[in-house]
């Protein structure tokens, strides 16, 4: 690192300067503990931060983390230029499906790029990565030429490093959240470093735990979400059965991503390894929504990971003409056609395109300019067609990877942004597309369609590649899906503190939204039923689906669910974990929560007590019973109900499929319908409210000898110990 800085300084002369605004610096040390180079320390007498300009590299992490904007960095960023291997474009595109993107040529390039990493103490790239790979950790291993160590670090958070390093949109994830990138510079090439690791040392096969844990889990779908869940469950010793409707496992990674981006051998690698190790993979087995109950009867848990495979169609006049197909049809057919010995002519004919002897090159109009659309267009080019992508978004807000867009254009794909299709015309078969211009001023605003300057295009084939949606047949039986990846309320302050959300950074906001999906994956949508990946949150990325699958696997292993027919059900579940959480203002509700926990302890059950501000999906997922209490807000009779903080918390609750919940409140005059309001919130989220109690001043008096919080805790403890199979809901 030092060498890198010095060489830059020699080359450019300038050096960054740090100004601490000592009038406002509160000495909280948020910048000091996060400075990658140790350029900041504390000045003891005045208790303000002090900067050593000589050590500063200009990454501006301090600026982003200071809560009071009391630090300013000016000057250049001292970092070497990024090592950027050029894509390998085939000399003759037609029929060539060789991989376009290349990794580093060797160790010198990889080491030079690894040296660019600042090894940030609070790495924003880790938060930007949907799987939360320990990026500084594996880069440090690369620096130490320790590929095994790097694999070990990657293995903690990812089962698909070879896939993710090739298909991830790093610019919007880890690299977009790199400190250099957040400071306006060029990010470390994290994706290529990850690829370097897996290119030079293959991902090791799963190591199954020596002790089979007896857990039987069914996974529906073998896409990235299924792979993430299956791998971890299998390694933990569970009996995993994977049901895949296609003949080849891999789901979208196989049929949705062309070989020139991700070779099939890599997409199917985890399944080959898992099958060889003994996982029960049942390809060609379609599971419908009606089959889920049957699976729940025969398995302890079911994980639905069947993706979002229904292609979106644009409802424009002429959409039902011949020659209008969806991306799935096109990509699946093209894959077979482009394989060694595939029938390209037959595929073209199946699309109704003219034969080879027609000298005219067919024009394919691809609707959309996201990654799927790029795949379609680039595949079309390899099949000898002219391809044009249109997207109604402004190019500034394009959804495709920037490098993919560049590659597509290099391969001759015409990409037109700010255009939308208004109609398709033709006699039986599509022959002309009518387009309108659009305008969009912000990423979160819908583009406006303009009536001026409409244009027409002669087309031979239209491929609708705007994306996919969930199968409504499944969403109907999977309560709470799809989950909206929107973060409500104040952002997690640990995220704010890291600096990833500074300056309204879009990458940070996206990452924060993804957390909602990741944690939602840990909670069952109903009793013993988990949903992950695109099936849970709608179409997303490979890495996100894989990460959700792993979270669900951890949740299943943590919850140890048991099917009703299981013989060892009681022993299997083991000691129960109870979480008592509360919203308190004067301390009464907090004391009641403590007393309830005492009641549990008296019956031999351990209960954890936390304020609701510290209870999120992780805490809820890691407990077998939840007891929730609130003080009663309102004036005697007006506005009486759960405290506002409790209401907000309840509004943001994720699904709590089948989880037993006890509720209580503390009041001064009357609780009115406080418990009813709380109960309904839990019931709407699939929880089973098993007991409720309102404690007035009399009940809160420990000496009064009436039914108080402690007795309530004891009653709940008895329920969890003796009645867990058949909790009786409170009405």
């Amino acid at each position: 690192m030092t060498q890198s800085i010095l060489s830059h300084e020699r080359a450019y002369g300038a050096h960054p300067t740090v100004q601490v605004l000592t009038d406002r610096c509160a000495g909280c040390q948020e910048c000091v503990i996060r400075c990658p180079t140790g350029a900041l320390s504390m000045e003891t007498l005045r208790w303000v931060a002090s900067a050593d300009d000589d050590l500063c590299v200009g990454c501006r992490q301090c600026e982003r983390t200071c809560p009071f904007s009391a630090i300013v960095v000016e000057g250049p960023m001292l970092v070497e230029p990024r090592i950027e291997p050029e894509p390998v474009h085939p000399a003759r595109l037609l029929g060539d499906i060789s991989e376009i993107r290349s990794g580093f040529a060797g160790w010198p390039e990889a080491l030079a790029e690894a040296e660019r990493c600042l090894q940030c103490p609070d790495p924003t790239c880790v938060r930007g990565c949907p799987a939360h790979n320990d990026i500084p950790g594996f880069i440090a291993s690369v620096r130490a030429r320790d590929l095994e160590g790097a694999h070990e670090i990657l293995r903690r958070t990812s089962t698909l490093p070879d896939v993710c390093s090739r298909v991830c949109n790093q610019a919007a994830q880890c690299e977009g959240a790199c400190s250099w990138s957040l400071a306006g510079g060029v990010a470390v090439s994290i994706g290529r470093l990850e690829r370097f690791i897996v290119d030079n040392l293959e991902v090791a096969p799963p190591t199954r735990s020596s002790e089979a844990n007896g857990l039987s889990v069914a996974i529906i779908g073998s896409g990235p979400a299924g792979a993430g869940a299956a791998w971890d469950l299998f390694e933990a010793g569970a009996m995993v059965t994977v049901y895949e409707k296609d003949a080849t496992p891999g789901g979208l990674c196989v049929w949705g991503i062309p070989d020139f981006t991700l070779r099939e051998e890599l997409a199917t690698r985890p399944w080959r390894q898992l099958s060889r190790a003994g996982l029960d993979l049942r390809c060609g087995t379609e599971i419908g929504p009606d089959d889920i109950d049957g699976l729940l009867f025969t398995h302890d848990a079911v994980i639905v990971a069947n993706g979002a495979g229904v292609p979106l169609r644009l409802p424009v006049p002429g959409a039902d003409l011949d020659g209008v197909v969806d991306a799935t049809t096109f990509l699946q057919g093209a894959r077979a056609a482009l394989e060694f010995g595939g029938d390209q002519q037959g595929f073209r004919s199946s699309l109704g395109l003219a034969s080879d002897d027609d000298s005219r090159t067919p024009n394919v109009l691809v609707l959309g300019a996201g990654n799927t659309a790029m795949d379609v267009a680039r595949t079309a080019r390899r099949l000898g067609m002219n391809a044009t992508c249109i997207d109604w978004l402004d190019e500034r807000f394009a959804l495709a990877r920037p490098d993919e867009l560049e590659e597509a254009r290099h391969e001759g794909v015409e990409v037109c942004f700010s255009r939308t299709l208004t109609a398709l015309r033709g006699e039986g078969r599509v022959a002309r597309a009518e387009l309108a211009r659009t305008t969009q001023d912000r990423a979160d605003r819908r583009p406006k369609v303009l009536s001026e300057n409409p244009e027409g295009r002669e087309v031979d084939l239209v491929v609708m590649a705007m994306g996919y949606r969930l199968d409504p047949a499944f969403t109907d039986v999977l309560p709470g899906t799809p989950v909206r990846k929107e973060s409500h309320g104040v952002a997690d302050r640990r995220w704010t503190a890291s600096g990833i959300l500074a300056n309204h950074n879009a990458v940070g906001q996206l990452a924060l939204g993804r957390e909602v999906g990741l944690w939602a994956a840990t909670l069952p949508v109903s009793d013993r039923l988990w949903v992950v990946g695109d099936a849970l949150t709608g179409p997303a990325t490979v890495v996100e689906a894989m990460a959700q699958g792993r979270r669900a696997a951890a949740a299943v292993l943590d919850a140890r669910p048991a099917r009703p027919s299981r013989q060892d059900r009681e022993q299997w579940s083991g000691p129960r974990r109870v979480l008592v959480c509360y919203e308190s203002v004067g301390g009464k509700t907090a004391r009641a929560a403590e007393a309830i926990a005492d009641g549990y302890s008296a019956q031999g059950v351990v209960a954890r007590v936390l304020p609701i501000a510290r209870v999120g999906a992780a805490e809820l997922a890691a407990t077998d019973m939840v007891v929730v209490g609130s003080w009663v807000e309102g004036f005697v009779v007006a506005g009486v109900g759960p405290a506002k903080g409790m209401r907000a918390w309840l509004a943001d609750l994720p699904r709590l499929g089948g989880k037993p919940v006890g509720i209580f409140c503390t009041y001064g005059v009357s609780p009115k319908d406080t418990l009813g309001e709380m109960r309904r919130s839990f019931q709407e989220r699939g929880a089973v409210v098993v007991a409720q109690a309102a404690f007035g001043p009399k009940e809160l008096d420990a000496k009064a000898g009436v039914f108080g919080p402690r007795a309530f805790g004891e009653e709940l403890a008895l329920q969890i110990m003796t009645n867990e199979a058949t909790y009786v809901p409170v009405e």
Binding site: V32, R34, T44, W47, F68, D134, P575, G586, A613, A622
Partner: protein
């Protein structure tokens, strides 16, 4: 059936946490830095469940602001629409006969109590937060940072705005006996300026850097017995990874005043808004009381901007005393003739005298430094206005802090005549709004105290302030000046002598003002 008591370890851990390798916090020296200024844990009134409940309630500050909001909008409307007779106009009467005096009482006892209930900042903050009291996520406005060069001036900037406002008040003779319409325009001006600043800059930039009263309340308020919101356990705050009190949490906004309760060593910048108390998820913040003058004596970090603010504010109040003497009218008239300025007060005389008087105070401190400072100590450290150190600053800064009680007493004493003579007029002024009472009302002509007695009270106030200043200056001198001085007796004598002289001069000036009347 029984269950084992042991807890099952959860597999659901946040993978981000594994990758975080924060540098260790520096704790060395933190104890000594804050030992003297940390309030006693027993003086945390937020331990009382009822007070805790009130402070947690988001409507608390709203309910503090609301009555003042009503009063000051009434001031604006009545000032413009009501009678021109100042004593009968509610706007002028409440503002100049009661409010100003009450604010001084509040600041001397509580510190920034007024800031917690201020309708000017409060109104602008409601708009900035788009809420009267709820914790909102998105604010209205540009949320800019206050420009650094200006922020570095600290309290000097608001002293400037206070001097400007005072000059305008003197020029238009708004306060005494009171000009209702001008009072309204002045209040509108303050509200409008506050609103603009709240919409352009983040948090309470206006209150910290611009508000004309902030320097007065900040400096004189440091005599107060409320330490403000402080940490209960500093270790916990230092280790805290989220700093909700600064960034804002689920229940409260981040500190609008840019104060961290764990490093607050005085009540200088605690606006008592309760946001840090509400947002701390660990309940690690308390509302502490302290002995009077603790925030004058105890802080180890002396701020140059505060010291200059004290000197300038002292200069201003001395100027106001001097301009009540008979010689000043002829001096002002002479200056106006030569400078072709048509009106009292002449800005050159106004600013010139204030600067001169504050430079005299600073000069006295410099003189003490020259006489006493040890030769073997290197005082000089380069830096900007707020950061640099020198021998002059090593003496001037602590001495200026030590003078705060005299300055506070002087300001308070200056308000007393108006209060004693005219405060009862507020009642007929209220009645007048509803069509009752007039100049013949007994209360209109009633006085709480008359002139000779007022002088006695004023001198007593000054004497009390001087005694407080002597005590504070002795403590400050012993702790901060004796170690850097050659002769302890000399430095004690000179600093305490300076306090005595300042006290005596202000007291004598009150007597002289009475004689001039």
């Amino acid at each position: 059936m029984t269950y084992e008591v042991e807890d099952r370890e959860s597999r659901l851990t946040d993978p981000v946490a594994v990758a975080i390798r924060l540098r260790p916090q520096q704790r060395e020296g933190i104890g000594e830095r804050f030992d003297a200024s940390d309030p006693h844990q027993g003086l945390d009134i937020a331990r009382n469940p009822l007070i805790a409940r009130i402070l947690h309630n988001r409507k608390f500050q709203f309910l503090l602001i609301l009555p003042n909001q009503i009063i000051f909008w009434t001031v604006i409307f009545v000032g413009l629409m009501g009678t021109a007779v100042p004593g009968l106009n509610f706007g002028a009467a409440i503002t100049w006969y009661v409010w100003f005096c009450l604010v001084f009482v509040m600041m001397v006892v509580v510190g920034r109590a007024w800031c917690a209930m201020c309708p000017f900042g409060g109104f602008a903050e409601w708009i900035q937060r788009r809420s009267f009291f709820q914790r909102t996520q998105k604010t209205l406005g540009l949320g800019r940072k206050f420009p650094e060069p200006l922020a570095r001036m600290g309290f000097v900037l608001p002293v400037g705005s206070f001097l400007l406002l005072t000059w305008i008040e003197e020029y238009f003779n708004i306060a005494g006996p009171g000009n209702p319409a001008s009072t309204s325009f002045m209040v509108i001006g303050i509200v409008a300026t506050a609103l603009v600043f709240f919409l352009v800059f983040e948090r309470r930039t206006f209150c910290r850097y611009i508000c004309p009263l902030t320097s007065v309340i900040g400096t004189i308020g440091s005599m107060g017995s409320v330490a403000g919101f402080r940490t209960r356990d500093r270790d916990k705050c230092v280790s805290c990874q989220t700093k909700d009190c600064m960034r804002g949490g689920d229940e409260g906004f981040g500190c609008p005043w840019y104060t961290w309760p764990a490093s607050s060593d005085s009540n200088l910048y605690c606006g008592l808004c309760t946001e840090c108390y509400k947002s701390c998820p660990e309940e690690n913040i308390g509302l502490f009381l302290q002995k009077p003058l603790t925030s004058v004596v105890a802080p180890k970090r002396r701020r140059a901007d505060v010291a200059w603010a004290v000197a300038l504010l002292f200069g201003l109040v001395l100027y106001q005393q001097l301009n009540a003497l008979s010689f000043y009218n002829s001096f002002d008239g002479w200056l106006n003739t030569h400078l072709h300025f048509p009106h009292y007060p002449n800005p050159v005389a106004y600013l010139g005298m204030i600067l001169l008087l504050s430079v005299v105070i600073a000069g006295a401190a410099k003189g003490i430094g020259v006489l006493s400072a040890r030769r073997d100590i290197e005082f000089d450290r380069p830096g900007n206005f707020i950061d640099k150190d020198s021998r002059f600053r090593a003496y001037f800064l602590p001495i200026a802090y030590g003078l705060i009680p005299v300055v506070g007493a002087d300001y308070f004493a200056r308000q007393l005549p108006k209060f004693f003579k005219s405060a009862p007029r507020v009642i007929p002024a209220v009645q007048h709004m509803f069509g009752f009472a007039g100049v013949n009302s007994p209360l209109y002509n009633a006085r709480i105290l008359s002139d000779p007695r007022i002088i006695v009270v004023q001198v007593c106030v000054i004497a009390l302030g001087t005694l407080g200043a002597l005590w504070a200056m002795l403590r400050i001198t012993n702790r901060e000046l004796v170690p850097v001085s050659r002769n302890a007796l000399l430095v004690r004598t000179t600093t305490l002598g300076l306090v005595s002289v300042c006290g005596a001069v202000t007291a004598v000036l009150y007597v002289a003002m009475q004689a001039a009347n």
